[in-house]
């Protein structure tokens, strides 16, 4: 059994160069969507079947009146990717079992098994999975499964010039992340925090992050909102069962009542 591997993305040193996006597309032969001209330097928009990596540009430029020396924290940048959750929502709902855990404990969609029902898209809390119209199936980051099998580093981590994206054994990455966040907090970055390092979010993430603000600022659900779809199974079925039972009872009353009416009328 290979060692459990992961990505540690340190957003504090991301410079938004998008080398990860380019390397990912190059390796995975993703043509990409037509470029968009969005806020900041974002021309990808979101993760989908053509973008397994997406560099987010989060605009925190203060109002001009509030700009003073020392509050120049204007941009947050983050190279987003599938989180390879320990308890993956997509995998939970997939009816075809096309979504599996690999020997590296990463989450992988088998394109030859998927039938394109898209239930995983409704379940993924990170909006990671996209539907490939041409292939008729869904797809997302594979963690460069083919490269892993050849003992190669995933393309995005290999290309990252600042080592914002680090690849390695998950236990080693946890240690590095702990040291880094402690150093940042010691420097006064009180909001610096690890996301997905522990099991508070989907049992822990294979691709975890060092964030410089709250998860919501980066478009990530916080621990209170990171819930599995199955949370509604029992309540949903119970509600349906009770309503059906009351419905049958109502039908019985209507049918019997009217039978009595018509018999009296006859």
């Amino acid at each position: 059994m290979p060692e459990q591997i992961g990505f540690f993305t340190d957003t504090s040193i991301c410079i938004g160069c998008k080398a990860c996006e380019v390397a990912c597309k190059e390796w995975n032969q993703l043509p990409g969507d037509p470029p968009k001209f969005l806020d900041g330097f974002d021309n990808t928009g979101k993760l989908d079947a053509e973008n397994y990596r997406h560099v987010k540009f989060i605009d925190l430029v203060p109002e001009s009146a509030n700009i003073i020396t020392g509050n120049g924290a204007a941009w947050l940048m983050m190279s987003d990717i599938c989180k390879h959750c320990t308890n993956a929502s997509c995998m939970e709902v997939c009816p075809t079992n096309a979504i599996v855990k690999t020997e590296y404990n990463t989450v992988y969609i088998q394109p030859e098994v998927c039938n394109g029902c898209r239930d995983c898209m409704s379940a993924c809390p990170y909006g990671v999975i996209g539907f490939n119209e041409q292939a008729g199936v869904v797809s997302k980051c594979t963690f460069c499964y083919d490269r892993l099998q050849a003992n190669m580093t995933p393309a995005c981590a290999k290309a990252c010039p600042t080592q914002s994206i680090q690849f390695g054994a998950l236990t080693d990455l946890h240690k590095k992340a702990d040291a880094r966040v402690a150093a940042l907090q010691a420097q006064g970055y009180d909001k610096a925090q690890l996301y997905g390092r522990d099991d508070s979010v989907y049992g822990g993430l294979g691709a975890f992050f060092l964030l410089m603000d709250k998860p919501e600022v980066y478009g990530l659900p916080n621990a209170q909102n990171a819930k599995l779809p199955s949370r509604n199974n029992a309540k949903g079925y119970l509600g349906a069962f009770l309503t059906a039972a009351v419905g049958v009872l109502a039908g019985l009353i209507a049918i019997r009542q009217n039978s009595d009416d018509s018999q009296r009328g006859a």
Partner: protein, 298 residues
């Protein structure tokens, strides 16, 4: 407060129609069984109509689900695991789509046998064997599941609105029963004079189902409000949809008030009997499916 960062699955027209017709197929089968069990002998004509429609509707449901897939020829992957080295049946009790796929298959079997039974029988006399009644009862349990699980599919997700309410399964089964009662009342007009007396029973049943549906809509809104997501349903154009849905309840509720004033059969037949009231109810349920499905995605 719930926060969502998901992408929509783009479940649109085919899924909306499937959710709608699965409700009518399941609801019709259930109502037919109820008419057989508790109705008078004269209700057999309408039960026969329901059993005749349930199977073709189930076939259409299967076709709609298949068309919506990105790979329609892989529809059987819902039932069979084709993962290399893991060949076997797919049955995930915690995945409503997995359960629903089996339910649709099973319901089709129940509906097919009932279809054969009524097609091979002459006239509308009620000479049903005990075994067939048991078959109908078991089929109705699957039918009710079919009518309701579609709502649970939506709830078991991370989409806004859908995952914020666990009342959608209940809402869908209540509305499915209402639409089915209206559908049978409407269809019986064209099929047989023997079926017409049952219209009033179905009209009254529909009124009760509409009250149940109203309660479930209230539950749906309360759960959304608790999650801080009610604004999505009260925003345009969905608000118009909800107003239309509530407007379609008027004929059914009017039937009920007519009964309360003592004009029992006359009132209920005034609405159900014209066919217009039944059509209004059916359209209302279609709008309900449309609004619930689309409002979470756009």
């Amino acid at each position: 407060m719930a926060e969502h960062f998901v992408q929509p699955p783009h479940w649109e027209v085919w899924i909306t129609l499937y959710f709608f017709l699965a409700g009518i197929a399941g609801g019709s089968y259930t109502l037919a069984t109820m008419l057989r069990l508790w109705g008078s002998a004269r209700d057999e004509a309408t039960a026969r109509i329901a059993f005749m429609w349930a199977f073709p509707l189930a076939v259409v449901c299967g076709a709609l689900l298949t068309i919506d897939l990105g790979k329609p020829l892989r529809f059987w992957h819902m039932l069979v695991n084709t993962t290399p080295g893991s060949l076997g049946l797919n049955f995930k009790v915690w995945s409503p789509i997995s359960l629903g796929s089996w339910a649709l298959l099973l319901f089709s079997l129940f509906a097919f046998v009932s279809f054969l039974e009524v097609m091979t029988k002459r006239g509308n006399e009620r000479n049903v064997s005990g075994a067939m009644v048991v078959w109908n009862v078991l089929g109705s349990i699957v039918a009710l599941f079919l009518a309701s699980y579609t709502g649970v599919v939506l709830s078991v997700s991370n989409q806004p609105v859908w995952s914020d309410s666990y009342a959608i399964g209940g809402l869908f089964v209540a509305s499915a029963l209402s639409a089915s009662a209206a559908f049978l009342a409407f269809m019986s007009r064209f099929r047989s004079d023997d079926a017409i007396p049952t219209e009033s029973r179905l009209g009254l049943a529909d009124s009760y189902f509409v009250i149940l549906e109203l309660i479930m809509i209230a539950a749906f809104f309360v759960t959304l409000s608790n999650a801080g997501e009610l604004w999505r349903e009260t925003a345009m154009p969905w608000l118009i949809g909800w107003i239309l849905i509530l407007a379609t309840f008027i004929p059914s509720l009017w039937t009920l008030t007519g009964r309360a004033r003592g004009r029992a059969l006359a009132a209920s037949r005034a609405v159900a009997g014209t066919g217009t009231g039944a059509l209004i109810v059916i359209v209302g349920v279609l709008i309900l499916r449309f609004v619930v499905i689309y409002s979470a995605q756009f």
